[in-house]
Amino acid sequence: MDWSALSLSLQLAVMTVLLLLPLAVLLARPLAWVSFPGKGLIDALVTLPLLLPPTVLGFYLLGVFAPQGVLGQTWLALTGRSLVFSFDGLLAASLLVNIPFAVQPVQRAFEAIPREAREAAWCCGLSPWRTLWRVELPLAWPGLASAMVLTFVHTLGEFGVVLMVGGNLDGATRTLSIAIYDRVQAFDDSGAARMSLLLVLIAFAAVGSLHFFTRKVGRRGN
């Protein structure tokens, strides 16, 4: 068992979820409620990472993340760290790749909140900020929960983009899914099998917890 790969994968998944969820809420709310020119284009861009082959996405990201690339240069100037073959780059790539998994469930959830629910809150004197916390987020909770689980599980399993952007550096960019590939290449089938089983169990537990949470919310709603 490659414990450092497991630890890296979990770190990457948790940080992706924590950073992406607020961004998803920020992006999904206007997409759900406001109609503006170019909305269709943004909807399409949000879905794009889902449709592109991970290697294609990874190839382009490698270009912009490189020290002479747009993002890579800026990041290097700001932090002194590289965006390629580093955990920073892995996290940035993971955030981009997971946008559709985070935004779409949240967007659907916000779309399902009736306008009157927010208006009722305003008429009760709740500020837009308090309306978000007391009304919108509780009502959108099932969507937020599935966004979290999908993003988490998808990050654990991501292979192509991670390999292209991060490479395979022990302790820095070697995630569990890459370690499995590594073991297979090294004819260590039992090592690969153990790690694969672990990934299956984690994914199963995550989806199971989603059912538990949303069922609990369903009861709260009844």
């Binding site: 009157e116 629910a117 208006e119 009722a120 809150a121 305003w122 008429c123 004197g125 009502l139």
Partner: protein
């Protein structure tokens, strides 16, 4: 609770998206009904008062505090308007008590629960504090919504002047029995409330039962404002007469009979109690409610002496439970006269299509208005 406050004054004008042209006020303790067909803009007017829609021009003041004019447009949070939505709009994830407490943000935190319980008790929901909306019946949900709106109107921001209660078709989503109970409840509750109440409804019966005054809206324009009796029996124009369902609407001329104004119509002279300010010789429209038309007994010997006798042919007799709606075609008039008789009478006299019948048009029920 606000007492002896000033009125709610509303004046709204705009062209788009929905034309609005109406001005009215509502005194504390008064219940004003906005009536009109769907699409007449009544809900938009209510949303303007709550701050959910901004009209192009006009002013809204409550107890002297300006909520809206050319310079100011306060958001709903800074107004003191309790809003009862058509579909209740309770928050499904909060208990009845929490829904009411949501409206008590301007009350010190320690007093919120007690105040909310008090409001729930006033709408007879004690003991149901912990229930979520889905665990309540439609009528109970509506009571929670009412308690929440009243709580907001009573203890909203003090700077916003007087609280008002706004209700958008509040009883349309419940069954008829519950609707009757809720109406009675509101009629009882409003005696204790010293705030302006504005009720939007398309149901004229509801408006007549509950409202002190009503505003008839059509395409956003206030056509008539007055007491229920004024509007329903003495409409100011044929348009209002049609909107309030007065089907017996005819054209005629004001004449003089023995020095008193009378109504010349379809070659007849009808006695009238009041010319309603219409000068002799002027063209008028006139209405008579179905209750103002009395059927003569066919064997009545004093037929000729009855007031405003009119004879015609029955074209339709519709039995509607205990009464029968009769349509009478009158010589010289294209429009039929519609009135009611008890089904018992209609059956006994074998009233049916093709039969002749004569009726009295009660002079004091005839209402004249300037012709369109």
């Amino acid at each position: 609770m606000a007492t002896d406050g000033g009125p709610l004054e509303v004046d709204l004008r705009q062209q788009t998206p929905i034309p609005l042209d109406c001005a009215f006020d509502c005194a504390p303790g008064e219940l004003l009904a906005l009536v009109g067909p769907s699409g007449s803009g009544k809900t938009t007017v209510l949303r303007c008062i709550a701050g959910l829609h901004r009209a192009a021009q006009g002013a809204i003041r409550s107890n002297g505090a300006t909520w809206f004019d050319e310079r100011i447009c306060l958001p709903p949070q800074q107004r003191r308007a309790g809003f009862v939505f058509q579909n209740y709009s309770l928050l499904p994830h909060l208990s009845a008590l929490d829904n009411v407490m949501l409206a008590l943000g301007d009350v010190p935190p320690r007093e919120r629960a007690a105040t909310a319980r008090n409001w729930l008790a006033r709408v007879h929901l004690q003991g149901l504090d912990a229930r979520r909306p889905a665990q309540l019946s439609g009528g109970q949900q509506q009571r929670v919504a009412l308690a929440r709106a009243l709580a907001r109107a009573a203890s909203g921001p003090a700077a916003a002047g007087g609280g008002v209660l706004l209700m958008d078709e509040p009883f349309s989503a419940v069954d008829q029995v519950t609707r009757g109970k809720l109406r009675a409840e509101l009629a009882r509750l409003r005696q204790e409330l010293a705030i302006p109440i504005v009720l939007v409804t398309h149901d004229l019966d509801e408006a007549r039962q509950l409202a002190d005054r009503m505003v008839v809206l059509h395409r956003g324009k206030a056509l008539q404002t007055g007491t229920s009796e004024d509007v329903l029996l003495r409409p100011c124009s044929p348009a209002v007469a049609r909107l309030v369902g007065l089907t017996n609407l005819f054209a005629g001329t004001v004449g003089i009979d023995s020095g008193r104004p009378c109504l010349e119509w379809a070659g007849r002279r009808l006695a009238i109690a009041d010319s309603c300010g219409c000068a002799p010789g002027s063209a008028v429209n006139w209405v008579i409610p179905a209750e103002g038309v009395l059927l003569h007994r066919p064997d009545s010997p004093s037929r000729g002496e009855a007031e405003n006798p009119v004879t015609g042919t029955i074209t339709e007799a519709l039995r509607m439970g205990s009464f029968t709606q009769l349509t009478l075609s009158i010589p010289g008039e294209a429009q039929p006269l519609v009135f009611q008789a008890s089904s018992h009478t209609a059956q006994r006299n074998k009233l049916g299509p093709g039969q002749a019948a004569s009726v009295t048009l009660l002079a004091e029920r005839i209402h004249l208005m300037p012709a369109e």
